[in-house]
């Protein structure tokens, strides 16, 4: 226990401990403040992998690390689409996932937003459309925002999440 506490104490708040990364960190912090202003502390996110290469998932995972601290800004991933406000969808919609994707979307309560993640989600990426893929997410369910990149960085993902809500402000 002492070792653990000692390590936590020594590491401190990580985003301040890396001077050479000040620039991007400041940007992240600002984004997080904006997000908090918009969502209060309420945004719940559900992710569906609709046939991604798993690269986009690496960056979605990174959102939860101490540097991006997604939960600190009030957002969290939830285990069920029934609890979610936003659906993050990755991949070029493998036909084998088409049905599951539709059903996940249908299970979400209104109002709901969908974010198509990565070049695959945007247009099918390197995989395109084929016997096994449908291409863009919007070919299968309505999409509110597209975030490009292969994979998109955590900053770009955070920016996308913010934009989604700004679009829908009354």
């Amino acid at each position: 226990m002492f070792d653990i506490l000692n390590r936590v104490r020594r590491n401190g708040i990580l985003s301040e401990a890396l001077p050479e990364l000040e620039q991007p960190d400041a940007a992240v912090e600002k984004l997080q403040r904006q997000l908090q202003a918009v969502f209060g502390r309420a945004l719940r996110i559900r992710h569906v992998d609709a046939g991604s290469c798993n690269g986009c998932e690496l960056e979605i995972h990174a959102l939860s690390n101490p540097y991006y601290n997604l939960e600190g800004s009030g957002m969290a991933f939830v285990a069920s689409p029934r609890h979610a406000d936003v659906l993050l969808v990755t991949g070029p919609v493998a036909v084998n996932m088409e049905d599951a994707l539709r059903r996940t979307y249908d299970a979400m309560p209104e109002p709901k937003w969908v974010m198509a993640v990565g070049d695959c989600g945007a247009c099918g990426g390197v995989f395109g459309e084929s016997y096994a893929t449908r291409g863009p997410i919007s070919a299968v369910i309505p999409v509110d925002i597209v975030v490009n990149g292969c994979p998109p960085t955590p900053q770009v993902l955070l920016r996308g999440l913010l934009q989604i809500t700004l679009q829908r402000q009354p």
Binding site: D3, I4, R7, V8, N11, L14, L18, L21, H47, V48, D49, A50, G51, S52, C53, N54, G55, C56, E57, L58, E59, I60, H61, A62, S64, N65, P66, Y67, F77, A79, S80, P81, G91, P92, A94, V95, N96, M97, E98, D99, A100, T104, G125, V126, F127, G128, E129, S130, Y131, A132, T133, R134, C150, P151, T153
Partner: protein
Amino acid sequence: MTLDLLLQEGCQLPANVPARQVPVDAAQWIANAQRLHDQGGCLLALWGADDRDRDGVFRVFAAFLLPDQLVVLEHTLAGANPVYPALDPWFPVANRLQRALYDLLGLKADGGDARPWLRHGGWPEYLFPLRREVGATQSYANHPRPYPFVPVQGDGVHEIAVGPVHAGTIEPGHFRFSVVGEKVLRLEARLGYTHKGIAKRFEKLSLQEGHRLAARICGDSTVAFSWAYCAALEAVTEIELPRRAASLRALALERERLANHLGDLGALGNDAGLAFGLMQFASLKERLVRLNQEVFQQRYLFDYVVPGGVAVDPGVRAVRALLDEAAMLELAVPALRAIYENHAGVQDRFRDAGVLSPELARAHGALGLVGRASGVAQDLRVDLPWPPYDRLRPNRALASAGDVAARVQLRFDEVMESLRLCRSLLETLPPGSSQLALPAAESGRLGIGLIEGWRGPVMIALETAADNRVRRCHAHDPSWQNWPLVEYAIIGNIVPDFPLINKSFNLAYSGADG
């Protein structure tokens, strides 16, 4: 024909490791598979090609990994009713490989499980997408069908169905547990949800573009797959990679191993109830990928390996930064390891959970990290070292308990060894160029790239067509071999331990689904 004779008969196959290609008929296909099995060989990959446009036949290929080389059997099948002898009686992994081969190309094994594997209903039953007459961008109505899982009967047995969409941010797959109370009697996985038609897609690409698709077969193994692709292409074009480029590729491969191992060590701590571990390791991983961005201009090294070399050559300052980072990790990782090892709660969850016995691992041809945690001493960087591993001389990590604790221990050991390799690569980085222009490739040649990625051996078999195009490209991920072993490792464990056990294997969905 004895094995020695067989190996004399075949011809050398262009590859980054010693490899032979042997044409066989149906009887020899079986006899040799049996002999290769008896000699301790394991079936690595099985794939086919539609060559009816060229010489009126289909071909089926089986790649076997022997201690000192790779052997590829090639068997020709008549175009009308292509059937080949099944390999699953000797190599259990063949079961799913045969089903996938049928779904994509319509080549039928004369035995084994006949349920579809990759085709869930997204294309018609008697349409085989890898056949040449099927258009590359043609799509079909989707009729998903229920899958006939093997039922378990008995007093109090019930089923739990999980997936394809899981509770966390992970790839999709379906797991069917048969349980009594909370104890697992049987687990059957159904995969293929992320099948993207990658093999068909390759056939639309030029040889110079293919590495970008290879890099996206499995995102967490992007360096391994793109290196395997480039190695196959470079073997076919018979160029020798500049020594500096080889060293930089190995540096990238070891950094990929580090990033994945660090991520897994954190997630495993978390699954055992120690969120502290997740935060610590996730921070270390983030620092590593940020340095990747700084030095290689890509956080996960996508498209870093390119035909003929690497995309970015780090300067002297970058080398310094990489060495400093290694020094930081050399201190941080052992400190965290000590915390894990002294934490009674964590050890209680790790030990004896999800045991894969060495006998079972050997019998099923377990590959890579999972195999090494169950006493299978196989690491291609040690056994068939290609440049620069021939001069680096990596040490093989090995454990024998085969439980979650062993797979954790192996990751810790491999992190330290990778750090040593990175250090050695950086300190002895050869001067010179890191990029070479590739000459045009001859048409109709087969080449193999075989790379020990962080999960285990990944393979690319690349066949060239005229005008520098890809004729056929088959990718293989070690998860094919290791997925069925998760089903064994979970038997007798409790359902709530599945996430931990599954994470300790951390197998690829996309990599294996193609």
